[in-house]
């Protein structure tokens, strides 16, 4: 059971400040959508609007094509998990999970059976009689998840549910979210700051900035062609090289990026750029190679996601893929794939490189 969630030109204003600006988003039934963005970008506001906890200033919110923006939260049949869990203090785990059913008039024996069954699935069956203050953060989040799922909602909203948990707990709960989504097939909107979480969980990712949707697509698309500087920074699985440089035209149709003394010839023409301009750039570590020799120094070598990476100090610091034979404290030479460089204007929007012929690094 899943629902299609559609936001049509939704705006939310808090006094003079805009929380969301003309946000349009369509989430098909059963999709696991990641929602990311910097602080204050409107991620949580989007979930609150869908849940009915925040009133919209204009626009429409539709569930399966039916307008719900004026419906109360309870009548939307949405499950929601909060970053701070939102458990009811001084109650037991069982009471917490039972309450949404009791509020809907489910008789106590049926409700207890449902709670026992779900608690077993989520792995909290031994905690049912404990007070919520007595259990750990990870257990509290499982309880919050059970409470959100007990009504079998067709839509589950997860607002940074792992933000206050440690790494090992994150991993186990991430798996649980994924399994439950597979089993129950509900639509899920998952707000997070962590690119790893969206990469592992979400089928598509919506990126919000300043209350607007700036990119929507698969994580790999975001990584390959980020629409903004923020997305480039947050969609990289490996460490990212970031800097500022000057975009120059050497000959008509031949552009290069000046980074310190390095000149990177682009494999195409930067869209919408007609003259020399200052830009921000990013380069994934896997587009930079470090081999023995040269004048730079290898500060340290680490292994991430099975890749041997080197931190190189030269005119600037680089994260690069370490070639065989490169050791810590040894000299290193950097080679860059100019085709992988991503350029951004000062306002953070991406500069697309059109028609990429041959290019070289000098």
């Amino acid at each position: 059971m899943a629902v299609r969630v559609t936001l049509e030109r939704v705006s939310v204003h808090y006094g003079q400040r805009a929380g969301l600006r003309d946000l349009t988003l369509d989430v098909p039934p059963g999709e696991f959508l990641g929602v990311v963005g910097p602080s204050g970008s409107g991620k949580s506001t989007t979930l609150r609007v869908i849940a009915g906890l925040t009133r919209i200033t204009s626009g429409r919110v539709l569930f399966d094509g039916r307008e719900v923006q004026d419906d109360r939260p309870a009548s939307r049949n949405v499950g929601m998990v909060f970053q701070q869990f939102g458990l009811y203090p001084r109650t037991t785990v069982k009471e917490n999970i039972l309450l949404p059913l009791r509020a809907r008039g489910v008789d106590i024996s049926t409700a207890r059976k449902q709670v026992a069954s779900l608690a077993e699935r989520i792995g909290i069956e031994t905690l049912l009689s404990r007070s919520v203050e007595e259990i750990s953060g990870g257990e509290q989040q499982r309880v919050a998840l059970a409470r959100a799922l007990i009504r079998k909602p067709p839509l589950l909203l997860l607002d940074e549910p792992l933000a206050s948990l440690d790494v090992s707990l994150r991993s186990s709960l991430r798996n649980l979210f994924s399994e439950l989504h597979q089993e129950q097939g509900m639509t899920v909107l998952y707000v997070t700051h962590d690119p790893l979480e969206v990469a592992l969980l979400a089928q598509r990712v919506a990126v919000l900035e300043a209350g607007q949707l700036v990119q929507l697509g698969r994580f790999s698309e975001l990584e390959r062609q980020p629409a903004t500087f923020f997305i480039a920074q947050h969609s990289a699985a490996l460490p990212l090289n970031v800097g500022e440089g000057i975009l120059n035209q050497e000959l008509p149709g031949c552009w290069y990026l000046q980074v310190d003394q390095e000149r990177l010839t682009l494999k195409g023409i930067p869209e919408g750029v007609s003259s020399t301009c200052a830009v921000s750039w990013t380069l994934n570590a896997h587009a930079v190679g470090a081999s023995p020799g040269g004048t730079a120094t290898t500060e340290r070598i680490v292994s991430m996601l099975g890749i041997r990476l080197a931190r190189i100090h030269g005119e600037r610091s680089w994260w690069a893929v370490a070639h065989d034979g490169l050791t810590e404290s040894s000299n290193a030479e950097i080679s860059i794939d100019p085709g992988a460089v991503k350029l951004f204007r000062k306002d953070g929007t991406a500069i697309r490189i059109l028609d990429q012929p041959n290019a070289k690094s000098r």
């Binding site: 609150r48 849940a51 009915g52 906890l53 109360r72 939260p73 309870a74 009548s75 949405v78 499950g79 929601m80 909060f82 970053q83 701070q84 869990f85 939102g86 458990l87 009811y88 203090p89 001084r90 109650t91 309450l99 949404p100 509020a103 809907r104 203050e133 750990s136 953060g137 990870g138 509290q140 919050a144 409470r147 959100a148 206050s164 948990l165 440690d166 707990l169």
Partner: protein, 275 residues
């Protein structure tokens, strides 16, 4: 160095304790003295103790009745004030920025008792509530209400926003939400009851206006011991000593509850994230 500091600290503590508890101790001692010893202005620690003052107060001056009256009025008014304050405080907490309304609640406590006494007396007389325990209970609960709302709002403010959000999404009725919220701030609730109880227990002026001989409370009963023939200091001391006991019990309770109540904020930040 450390022991020197300890000694200085202890001396300061003893000095403060003497200033605070000296009069109370003197009062308690006086309640066991004969009239002749009481009127001796020299401080006498050696005297032959007597229970005559207590016998007099309880037997002849119906102190027991006044004590029961005080207990009923203070308990009833504290509970009523808190029961009415809970929804008001929760509502004010949900809708921040309504401080004017909160001030309105508190203003009843700011007005001098004399300014309230006459209107209260006239209204209560017209509905037959003068010289009744119910009337005094209502008056005291009304006076405590502002303070109770203000205090409970502070505790409700400590509840995380996600609590209210979760209740909305889960479809809990407003009554269920308030019940859960009250349960969450239980130490704060109990503390408010104790403070409201103490206010009523010690209240004098309104009680004097609204009660008669049959319904008067302990503070009014003491007034009756000031007679044309002189003040019955022994009985005054006995009644004051007995009346101070519930207040002391309340303060001990409140001390423990406040410590638990005030750590409630930390529950939100630390305990909920503890692992």
């Amino acid at each position: 160095m450390r022991s020197k500091r300890f000694i200085v600290g202890a001396l300061i503590f003893v000095a403060f304790a003497f200033v605070w508890f000296g009069p109370a101790g003197w009062l308690a001692l006086s309640s066991f003295k004969h009239r002749i010893d009481l009127l001796d202005w020299n401080v006498q620690l050696k005297f032959s103790p007597t229970l005559n003052n207590y016998r007099g107060a309880f037997a002849h001056d119906e102190f027991g009745t006044h004590f029961v009256n005080s207990m009923l009025v203070a308990t009833g008014s504290a509970l009523a004030a808190v029961i009415f304050a809970i929804p008001a405080a929760f509502g004010l907490s949900l809708r921040p920025g309504r401080n004017r309304l909160l001030f309105l609640f508190l203003s009843a406590r700011m007005a001098p008792a004399a300014a309230l006494a006459l209107p209260l007396f006239l209204v209560f007389r017209s509905v037959g509530l003068v010289d009744t325990l119910l009337g005094l209970t209502l008056a005291h609960s009304g006076l405590s209400l502002g303070f109770a709302v203000w205090m409970l709002k502070g505790f409700f403010d400590e509840l995380p926003q996600s609590f209210v959000d979760a209740a909305s999404v889960d479809g809990l009725s407003i009554f269920m939400t308030i019940r859960l919220a009250s349960r969450a701030i239980l130490p704060g609730l109990a503390t408010t009851v104790v403070f409201s109880f103490l206010f009523s227990w010690n209240e004098f002026f309104i009680s004097m206006i609204l009660t008669g001989r049959r319904t008067s409370t302990v503070p009014i009963a003491v007034l009756g011991l000031v007679t044309p023939a002189g003040t019955l200091w022994g009985e005054v001391a006995a009644i004051a000593t007995a009346a101070i006991i519930p207040a002391i019990i309340s303060m001990v309770l409140v001390r423990g509850l406040l410590a638990r109540g005030l750590t409630f904020g930390a529950f939100r930040e630390a305990e909920w994230q503890s692992e």
